[in-house]
């Protein structure tokens, strides 16, 4: 099953609006193998968030399909998708999106609560371990509002990891943080990735961050434009490709099923 990649998108199109149709994604076909760290870059409005949300089962494509572990998400009901997100995915958003009604530890436990009710001792231990891992052991019982932005984002990372997700989706996880805090958070993510060999798709505006990934894909106007493997070709060459104006993925963007592009 995994031969095809953990995440496979097939000719994903997204069109907003009904009266005035506005196409945001064009025939996105993409395979992300298990364990890969993929960075999605591109100018503002190019459709990165839209694509990430579709992969993350938060949004549905107008046409095309997303397979995760071979499961076609189109075949799942809303309720199934919710359960799927809870079980398979870990989300890290730009804004930290914790629940202010709960303390840090409880926020980390929420994904478990959603699925299974009362946490056993070992589950609380895991949540504590994750908080410790993100350096917030002391803040476990603190109200969310008392934490700094960086601390909140680290709690969010711990929460994303709670249910042993197969795939981490991060949308500009440092976008709301200052540079230094942002770097710490990225370092933390890198460490966790190394430890667990987790698959991760991260949207970022920061080219240096992107170049640390296994693979970088640039979206322009809703189309896949460039793809580089910095570890394979080296940072220098990767930078050159990313800085050039020509796309190196023309072949991917030519429609495979002409019917789908009007």
């Amino acid at each position: 099953m995994d031969d095809n990649g953990l995440v496979v998108t097939q000719n994903v199109n997204k069109i907003y609006g009904t009266a005035v149709r506005y196409q945001v994604l064009f025939n996105i076909t993409l395979t992300v193998p298990r364990g890969q760290f993929l960075a999605l870059i591109g100018p503002s409005g190019s459709g990165k968030t839209t694509l990430l949300n579709i992969i993350g089962a938060l949004d549905r494509p107008t046409s095309g399909a997303v397979f995760i572990q071979g499961q076609n998400l189109n075949d799942l009901s809303e309720e199934d998708l919710a359960r799927f997100r809870n079980k398979f995915l870990g989300f890290i958003f730009q804004f930290h999106y914790l629940l202010p009604e709960f303390n840090a530890l409880e926020n980390v436990l929420i994904p478990y609560w959603i699925a299974s009710g009362r946490p056993k001792g070992e589950i609380v231990d895991r949540a504590m371990y994750l908080l410790e891992r993100v350096g917030l052991k002391e803040a476990a019982k603190k109200r969310i509002n008392l934490l700094s932005g960086g601390q909140q984002q680290r709690v969010a990372i711990a929460r994303a990891l709670m249910n042993f997700p197969q795939l981490i989706l991060a949308d500009e996880p440092t976008g709301a943080l200052d540079t230094k805090t942002g770097e710490q958070v990225l370092e933390l993510l890198a460490e966790i990735r190394h430890e667990s060999n987790m698959t991760m798709i991260m949207v970022t505006h920061n080219r240096d961050v992107a170049l640390q990934a296994d693979r970088v894909i640039e979206l322009i106007d809703g189309k896949l434009c460039k793809e580089v493997y910095p570890r394979v070709i080296g940072i220098k060459e990767a930078t050159e490709i990313l800085e050039s104006h020509a796309c190196n993925l023309e072949d991917i963007n030519t429609p495979r099923t002409p019917l789908q592009e009007e």
């Binding site: 968030t49 949300n53 938060l58 949004d59 809303e78 309720e79 919710a82 359960r83 799927f84 997100r85 809870n86 079980k87 995915l89 989300f91 958003f93 730009q94 804004f95 999106y97 914790l98 629940l99 202010p100 009604e101 709960f102 929420i110 994904p111 609560w113 959603i114 699925a115 009710g117 009362r118 929460r159 949308d171």
Partner: protein, 407 residues
């Protein structure tokens, strides 16, 4: 999932503390008023009914063609002329001992009292009055009319030629205990009797016209020869009278069986409209509670849009998020109505104290109607649940990407 929803619901309520407190107080006020009002109304009605039928027969068994002449102590409009007609020849119960014995063995009957009744006149010296003669067996009749307690003078005895007369009548005829009087019936028979005492049944007309005498001399006066004119019955539960009357009709098909309700239609319809208005008030209080909870929860959905979006993004199902709001409604309803029940109970106690302290100025007391209490608490909680449906639906409709996109 329920556990999870309960946890989130609880926290949501706790986090908007003043809002939660206010609505719980609102429900408390509404429910306590409902409970107090319903207890007050049922206390009032029980008192009215007790006054009406407490010392009057609840059911009367009479021969088929007998015009009902019995007067209840508190019916203020007694048509004396109706009493004046003599007991017709055929209007009698012959084998009454058998029926009486049968009745005494019936469940739910408190007492069955044989009665010979008719009009007559009483003379003492130059003074004459027309009266209602009530021939009774004191040991049974006393359980209906409480004659022993209501004897104001003399002794409550009617053996042989003894009679008990109403206080007004005694005044009119200047009667005293031990006085002799002559009783004449329309049939032309008469007899001399001795006044054993006077009674006060709390009703002027009755006190001015009733004379109690023993069954046997009464039978003689009316020429009934062992027969009687009616059997008066009191039952344990006054509102079971119609049901019991129906049963009796089956056993005694040849007699008319009349209940206190048929003789107190006006009172009953007044009670009914009172109950209805109390019910209306309770209904609108309930509507107010429901709308209050609904509005608070609708506002809460808008306040918690962010949280709802996050919860959904990380995998809360639509059912789960709906449940969060339904449970909030449920918690508000349960807390509010339980507090309301407590407070309503407190109000009732307060009223009881006031009634006691008033020394009769408040002529009745109220007791907590447990069934009404349970009903009100359950209905209020269900209404709260109902109130949460629309907010729950709203929360369900919310899509997480809207929230995530807009920060």
């Amino acid at each position: 999932m329920f556990r999870f929803a309960l946890r989130i619901a609880w926290r949501f309520l706790k986090s908007s503390r003043s809002q939660t407190l206010l609505i719980v107080l609102g429900i408390t006020a509404g429910v306590s008023i409902q409970i107090f009002l319903s207890s007050l109304i049922s206390g009032l009605q029980a008192n009215l009914i007790q006054q009406t039928v407490g010392d009057a027969p609840h059911i009367i068994i009479a021969p088929e063609d007998r015009t009902p002449t019995s007067v209840t102590p508190s019916s203020k409009t007694v048509v004396v002329s109706a009493l004046a007609s003599p007991v017709k020849e055929e209007a009698k119960i012959l084998a009454w001992q058998q029926i009486h014995g049968l009745l005494l063995n019936q469940p739910n009957l408190r007492v069955a009292s044989p009665l010979v009744e008719g009009s007559g006149s009483v003379r003492k010296g130059e003074l004459t009055r027309s009266v209602v003669l009530k021939g009774i067996l004191l040991e049974y009749a006393d359980q209906i009319y409480e004659l022993r307690e209501r004897t104001t003078q003399g002794i409550p005895q009617i053996g042989g030629n003894g009679v008990l007369v109403g206080v007004e009548l005694a005044q009119d005829l200047r009667l005293r205990t031990g006085d002799l009087l002559l009783i004449t019936t329309p049939g032309g028979k008469d007899g001399t009797f001795i006044v054993n005492g006077t009674f006060d049944l709390g009703n002027k007309t009755i006190n001015a016209s009733w004379v109690f005498l023993d069954l046997i001399p009464a039978q003689n006066l009316f020429g009934l020869e062992g027969a009687i004119s009616a059997i008066e019955i009191q039952i344990d539960q006054v509102f079971q009278s119609e049901y019991i009357a129906q049963n009796l009709k089956r056993i005694l098909p040849q007699y008319t069986i009349e209940t206190w309700q048929t003789r107190n239609r006006q009172l009953l319809s007044a009670l009914r409209s009172q109950s209805l208005s109390s019910f209306m008030i309770q209904f609108f209080v309930l509507v107010a509670i429901t709308l209050g909870i609904a509005s608070v929860l609708v506002v809460s959905v808008t306040q918690k849009i962010r949280e709802i979006g996050i919860l959904k993004a990380i995998g809360t199902t639509n059912t789960g998020i709906s449940l969060v709001f339904l449970i909030q409604g449920m918690i508000l309803g349960l807390f509010g109505s339980s507090l309301g029940a407590l407070f309503g109970f407190f109000l009732i106690r307060l009223f009881q104290e006031a009634a006691r302290a008033s020394g009769g100025a408040i002529p009745f007391s109220i007791t907590l109607n447990t069934r009404a209490l349970v009903t009100i608490v359950v209905v209020s909680t269900l209404a709260s649940l109902l109130a949460a449906i629309s907010p729950a639906r709203q929360a369900k409709k919310l899509t997480p990407i809207e929230v995530i996109r807009n920060g």
